[in-house]
Symmetry: C2
Subunit: 133 residues, 2 copies
Amino acid sequence: MTSTDRPVSARTTRQRRAVSAALVDITGFCSAQEIHEIVKRRGDAVGLSTVYRTLQAMADADEVDVLRTDEGEALYRRCSSGHHHHLVCRDCGRTVEVEGPTVERWADRVAADHGFADVSHTLEIFGRCESCG
Amino acid sequence: MTSTDRPVSARTTRQRRAVSAALVDITGFCSAQEIHEIVKRRGDAVGLSTVYRTLQAMADADEVDVLRTDEGEALYRRCSSGHHHHLVCRDCGRTVEVEGPTVERWADRVAADHGFADVSHTLEIFGRCESCG
DNA sequence: ATCTTCATGACAACGATTCTCATTCCCGAG
DNA sequence: CTCGGGAATGAGAATCGTTGTCATGAAGAT
Ligand SMILES: [Zn+2]
Ligand SMILES: [Zn+2]
Ligand SMILES: [Zn+2]
Ligand SMILES: [Zn+2]
């Protein structure tokens, strides 16, 4: 009864290394398909399914952050660990990690005031960066 | 050259009235398909395509708020006008509209500090409400 | 080297959303 | 009121991101 019935190992395969390497190359958020392209462009061949699976595993392990496009598409990015939010350029995708202790407290307080427990939140800032002026 | 080339009318049809009515009945965020079901349950027959189109039109006109599930599904809700955010129950969908002037200022400031212009943001708080304790 | 098990990938399947287009029916001009 | 043009509808096909299937390949323990 050790709960989840999913593998516990995490083997280091050529494919996983390729995806990780691609994620290091890029600075902004990318879709799974874009990452698949990047991996390919770097000369590594990895199946699209595997890219999706790897990205999901990395997200579960908090090795990448995920955010959703207005259209619902998932975008991934290698981020520093720890809770933070993003300031993202709408045009070029350039991303800055930001922290806001005040916001964190505000959100928790609002939730508590209304009797909500087990609180979490999402917060992203979008704009146009200087180079995209 | 009056810009957009999309219809300018907005005819009041039975279908649009039905969707609007359904939106009044519900308090939390619902998917287009759920709203389609609710409309049907109320005795009005409206095509799914029309529900989607109507909801989109209402969103464009700021008559409903839209938010995205973790899985990327769009949820709609009739909201008060004006900028605000939501505290949403993960289980039952109960929603409370919240405002946070401090957060608004913080977000704009962060963006400005990094040279970003034309700033916007998304912010939602999730939790489990009392009745879902 | 061998074996167990997880990982891979080509392809099918899925589900939400959008598109197509023939038909319906608002609604304002006459 | 009645017509006619054009917006609105809806059934079904098409899209597209994502997930499932399953036979085959390859880590890694022994
Ligand atoms: Zn930019
Ligand atoms: Zn936070
Ligand atoms: Zn609840
Ligand atoms: Zn705000």
